[in-house]
Every structure is written in C-alpha cells, then in structure tokens.
Subunit: 166 residues, 2 copies
DNA sequence: GCATAATATATAACAGGTTATATAAACCGT
DNA sequence: ACGGTTTATATAACCTGTTATATATTATGC
C-alpha cells in the first residue's frame, strides 16, 4: 500500500496537515448536525454562536472575533441572511456599518445546537484528545489515527445507543 | 477589542481552528517560497515531494499518499503540468491509468526547495513547537500565539541575517 | 464647507478542498 | 467474445478561505 506521505514529513507539511485534520473534523461534525436535523453548515456555527453570545455585531467585529477575513464574513452573512437566520441592516449612526443580528430562527438554531450536539462534540473530542501529552506531532498522529479508527459520528452514536435505547 | 471567539470555544470549534492554523502556516511558508524565488504554490510541494521520493505514480496513488480526494489530485496535476513541472501520460499496460512524473524542471524545483527552505521550515517550526507539552488545546494556543508574535518568515529572516550577512 | 483621507463593506478572481456523477478502459463469467 | 461490473480518471457544482480592489460613507484639515 501507498502510505501517508504528509504524515511522514513531520513539520515540513504541518500546514497541509492542519488543514486536512480541520476538514476531517468539520466533515464529522457536519454528520452530527445533519443527523440532528439542524439546517446549518458546520463552518457557520461559530459565527452564529458569536452573535448569540456577544449580541449583534458589525461585519468587521465578526471578522475580528472569528479570526477570518472581512470578505469571508460578508459572504457567510449573506448566505445566512438568505436562509433567514440573521438579519442585516445599516448602522443608524454610521451608515457604512452593517449590524448583523440573529433572527428568532437563528436563536432557535443556536439553542438547539447548544442543547443537542455541542455537549456531544465537546465530550467526544476531549475524549479523543485526552491521554496524549507528548509533542505536537505525536498528538496529531494520535488524533488522526483515532478519527480513522472510528469517526466522531460513530463514537457519538454508540454512546447514544448505549444510554437511551434498548 | 473584540477577542478571539474561536479560540475561546475549545473543542467545539476545533475543526475551524485547525483549518485556520493550517491556512496561516501555509501563508507563512508561501512567503518563504516566494522569497527564495521558487515558483510553486505551497500546497503543491507535498505532491512534488512525493513524486520525487517515491518516483512516478498514478493519480490514484498520489491521492492515497497525500490523503486527499482523487479529483483534488487531478486538478493539482493539471495545473502542475501546465506549469511544466510534471508530465502526465497514459499507462502503457492499463490505459485507464495516468502516470505522473516530474520533469527536469520539477526535479530542480524540489531539489532547490529541499536545499534552501525545507531545513529552515523544519528548524523553526520545531522550535516554535518545542517546549510545549501539555494537552492539545494548550499547544494550539501556544502555536497561534507565537505565530502572531512573530511570523515564521520573520523568524527565518532574523536567523539568516545573523548567520550569513554583515 | 469642500476636497481629501480614512474606514466599512462589497465584489471579483483565485486557491484548493469536497461530493456526486460521467466516461473510458479493463476484467470476468458464461 | 460479448454484456455487465468494476476501476481509474475527469468533470461539474459547491464550500470557504484568501487577496486586491471598488464603492460608499464618515472624518478631517485648510
């Protein structure tokens, strides 16, 4: 078999590898979101959660809070507005600014997520990362290995079955 | 100031955060590549390095070796072929397969990278990650903090000046 | 108080990742 | 040896990130 070249290159391919792990994690979380019947894109939950916890914000504030570029936020907000999850309106004092705010639907979405899947994600990811304490590369190895062995989704489902079903 | 929301959410935003760090690392490395006068995209160095070290491969083998999807490799190879860095030809025995091979230009590019910037990347990233040993989230905090304090590029440049210039 | 500079957001173009699906070649069973 | 299945790659459509640049509004200095 052809093996994992990126993994073997250590620090040299760290950027590629971080992105790869991030994609994998987001894909796994998306499964959970879908299974819970929540109509959101994984990548937009942070934006919604920020609005929920910090209140209405401008595009620029969101970009700063999320560590993402302003055009990225503009686009995300545009999509979320189209889905009716947030509203956008011009600032009253400064008309250059746009005030982004959760709609009722948006608040419900965040509340549902917080209740149903957030605890599962936290618990299981903490578990996956738990007993690794070495250097960063070792921890990445362990994380990737464990996600390959059993996806976050499978881990969550097993637990749920054990607890709530016959 | 608005602070870093993603960082504060711990495991919940791990996927987003991994991708963010990966983007940052790749951007930093791209600076080094540009400064060294190498005409490549950071993200494609792993592919080139794999071809260099493992010899000519098919699209599918590359996808497996790099841990990315087959369509992703098809596109990367297409771009690299356009730049004259790799050649692609049908397999002789199995005409479905495409054999991807470094050109002379490609081999030179890898050799140059290996000589000029790879050691710098390894050294400085290892250094940045060195004395952190705790749980994963702490290491991510440390990594992000250090990259914010001083970019990989700055770190490399400082070292070079100290060693090789007046 | 008007011209210029700065700021906030929008838009365009690109990167590189994904999934789903189409196409072409090879394999296989009868 | 031909029809159906499998396999390898290509293509399409989308996501989300980026940078560079345009537009609109506010702030400022003379």
């Amino acid at each position: 078999m052809v093996e994992d070249f990126v993994r073997g290159k250590g620090y040299l391919t760290l950027g590629t590898r971080f992105k790869r792990i991030g994609d994998r994690l987001q894909a796994d979380v998306q499964q959970l979101i879908d299974a819970a019947g929540l109509a959101v894109q994984t990548g937009q939950y942070p934006l919604l959660a920020a609005l929920d916890e910090m209140g209405p914000m401008t595009i620029g504030d969101l970009a700063a809070a999320l560590g993402v570029s302003q055009p990225g936020v503009t686009r995300s907000v545009g999509q979320l507005a189209k889905q009716g999850v947030v509203t956008v309106r011009r600032g009253s004092r400064d008309q250059r600014k746009r005030r982004v705010e959760l709609t009722e639907k948006g608040r419900t979405l965040v509340a549902d997520g917080r209740q149903t899947i957030w605890p599962l994600i936290e618990t299981h990811l903490a578990d996956i990362c738990a007993d690794t304490d070495g250097p960063l590369l070792d921890q990445l190895d362990a994380l990737e290995t464990r996600l390959q062995e059993k996806s976050l989704y499978s881990r969550v489902m097993e637990t749920k079955e054990g607890n709530t079903n016959e």
